[in-house]
């Protein structure tokens, strides 16, 4: 599968706390923009991939945009853990001849819609009977629990989490499409903000966004004829570790060794590159604490060194590993991580608003803590 397929089109809607259009309309707009970016007619689309949490299904999308006969469609579970897997599934389908033009997308009105954790009748992967009665209600509580343990074991501090929040905010301040474009963040704002679930404060949590994004995938051969510069899927992986329990992974032998470790092993095994070759990273940031955990999992540093890795501006432009260069889920938009994929593509095209000079390789990751996925993209 190595470099056999390429992302040749990306598209998105505006991002806002509230958009007037439906999720279905937003999905169609993002997909049609991505196809236009690729220079591919909607009638040529014969493959779709999205998240199980996506509420607009393939039937609705295909007939609205005017897709042709569709021969591959797939949905990936576990919320934001499925982001990169949508592209991975299309890449596998195209590489094995099941489809020729694939579209992956996510459309979500999480900004103006209900907070999912408020619906207590929906069962998470691990039944809620073991957590909800005790008031462990929200993803912030579930990840806050792992964060506290991580801080205790490795001496990580709130300043380390602030380093993550600041890097994302600084990049958002360069990106006119970002919800936080005109909203700088200071250390004082961070340290005095309200708690959500101690040790996580407001700025450790991602945004709540209405918006949609899409990308178009074709074979490497076909990619050469497209309108935009191809960005190749060099390696792709999913990860569901042995004895994993979902976001509430407290029952695994080693809860701080999450799905990132499993996805990373597979990702690097099939790549010609290693972590030191990565020019820029788009790492899933529903919460700041996922960054140190992912840096360790994907091999940028050793176990327990993820927090220290963020020191000295390492995640800023010009640092060791520029991070989430459109602002990420923390400061551009939270659309289950799909904006990390499109920003990875822009970096390798050389069109990011926070461009890393000569960026040729980009790691994109999906939600850590849940069964996850990752992509290694190259120009």
């Amino acid at each position: 599968m190595k470099d056999a397929t390429a992302i040749v089109g990306i598209g998105q809607t505006p991002f806002a706390k509230r958009l007037p259009e439906s999720e279905k309309a937003l999905a169609c707009r993002a997909i049609l923009r991505a196809l236009d970016d690729a220079g591919i007619a909607p009638a040529e689309v014969d493959g779709f991939a999205s998240y199980t949490m996506e509420e607009t299904d393939e039937v609705e999308v295909a007939k609205s945009i005017g897709a042709g006969d569709v021969t591959f469609f797939s949905k990936v579970g576990y919320g934001g853990g499925g982001s990169c897997a949508t592209v991975a599934h299309l890449a596998a389908a195209i590489a094995t001849g099941q489809a020729t033009v694939g579209v992956a997308w996510r459309s979500r009105k999480r900004g103006s819609g209900a907070r999912p954790w408020r619906n207590t009748t929906v069962q998470l992967p691990t039944p809620a009977q073991w957590t909800r009665p005790f008031g462990l209600l929200r993803p912030a509580d579930e990840i806050g629990m792992l964060t506290r343990r991580y801080m205790h074991e490795y001496g990580a501090t709130r300043d380390h989490l602030f380093n993550v929040a600041l890097a994302c905010r600084n990049r958002a301040n360069q990106n006119p499409a970002a919800m936080m474009y005109e909203r700088p963040l200071t250390r004082e704002m961070y340290m005095t903000s309200r708690w959500i679930s101690e040790p996580l404060c407001l700025f450790d949590n991602c945004l709540e966004t209405d918006g949609a994004l899409a990308c178009v995938l074709v074979s490497a051969d076909r990619a050469r004829d497209c309108r935009s510069k191809p960005v190749y899927v060099h390696s792709a992986a999913q990860g569901l570790p042995a004895q994993h329990h979902g976001m509430v992974n407290y029952w695994a032998e080693d809860p701080l060794r999450g799905p990132a470790w499993t996805a990373a092993q597979q990702l690097w095994k099939h790549a010609d590159l290693c972590p030191q070759d990565v020019d820029v990273a788009q790492i899933y940031d529903a919460f700041t604490a996922l960054i140190p955990l992912s840096l360790e999992g994907y091999g940028f540093c050793g176990r327990g060194e993820g927090a220290a890795f963020t020191e000295g501006g390492a995640l800023e432009l010009g640092g060791r590993l520029p991070l989430n260069t459109s602002g990420g889920g923390l400061s551009e938009a939270y659309v289950h991580g799909f904006n990390l994929i499109t920003e990875g593509v822009r970096q390798l095209r050389g069109t990011s608003t926070a461009q890393v000079p000569d960026a040729a390789t980009c790691l994109v990751t999906a939600g850590e803590g849940v069964p996850t996925s990752a992509l290694l993209l190259r120009s």
Binding site: P127, F134, Y250, E253
Partner: protein, 157 residues
């Protein structure tokens, strides 16, 4: 907002909704016993409960009684926005406790000053990783929905 039965008025908390695998845990909890599913084939304890043993694949299991002693493995202090019953109690602590009998078994719960005390943050310094705790049981609900949840008190308050 929710179809789940609410707890008693003084708490308004969510009651556990057991699945087939978890039901014995809650039956024992209603009797004030903390029991963990244990493989009849190889003796390995497992939590959360599930139909077969991930080590030896046996479908036979028993429920072993634990001493109720444990240590705080981690905790959070939850602040709003929260569901109504919990927002009234906020800020409150939520713990993960590792059992003294088998530290590989960890349970989510709350640290309280007495079995019937409301949820709350607890005084600074009292709540720390590694602190020894002991299980107590709080009765919730009534009639057919009567149940009990394990809570935790400090061994050295």
């Amino acid at each position: 907002m929710t179809d789940e039965p609410a707890g008693p008025p003084e708490t308004g908390l969510l009651l556990p909704v057991p699945d087939d695998d978890g039901a014995p845990f809650w039956s024992y909890a209603a009797e004030g016993e903390l029991r963990v599913q244990t493989c009849s084939g190889c003796g390995t304890r497992r939590f959360p409960p599930r139909p077969c043993c991930p080590r030896c694949q046996s479908f036979e299991s028993q429920w072993q009684r634990m001493s109720g002693r444990g240590r705080i493995w981690s905790y959070v202090i939850a602040h709003p926005p929260l569901l109504p019953g919990y927002a009234e109690a906020a800020p409150y602590n939520v713990l993960v406790v590792e059992l003294a009998d088998d530290p590989s078994i960890r349970l989510v719960g709350n640290l309280v000053t007495a079995p019937d005390a409301p949820l709350g943050p607890l005084a600074d310094g009292k709540l720390r990783i590694g602190a020894p705790v002991r299980a107590v049981f709080r009765q919730l609900g009534d009639g057919e929905r009567r149940t009990a949840v394990p809570r935790w008190t400090l061994e050295r308050p």
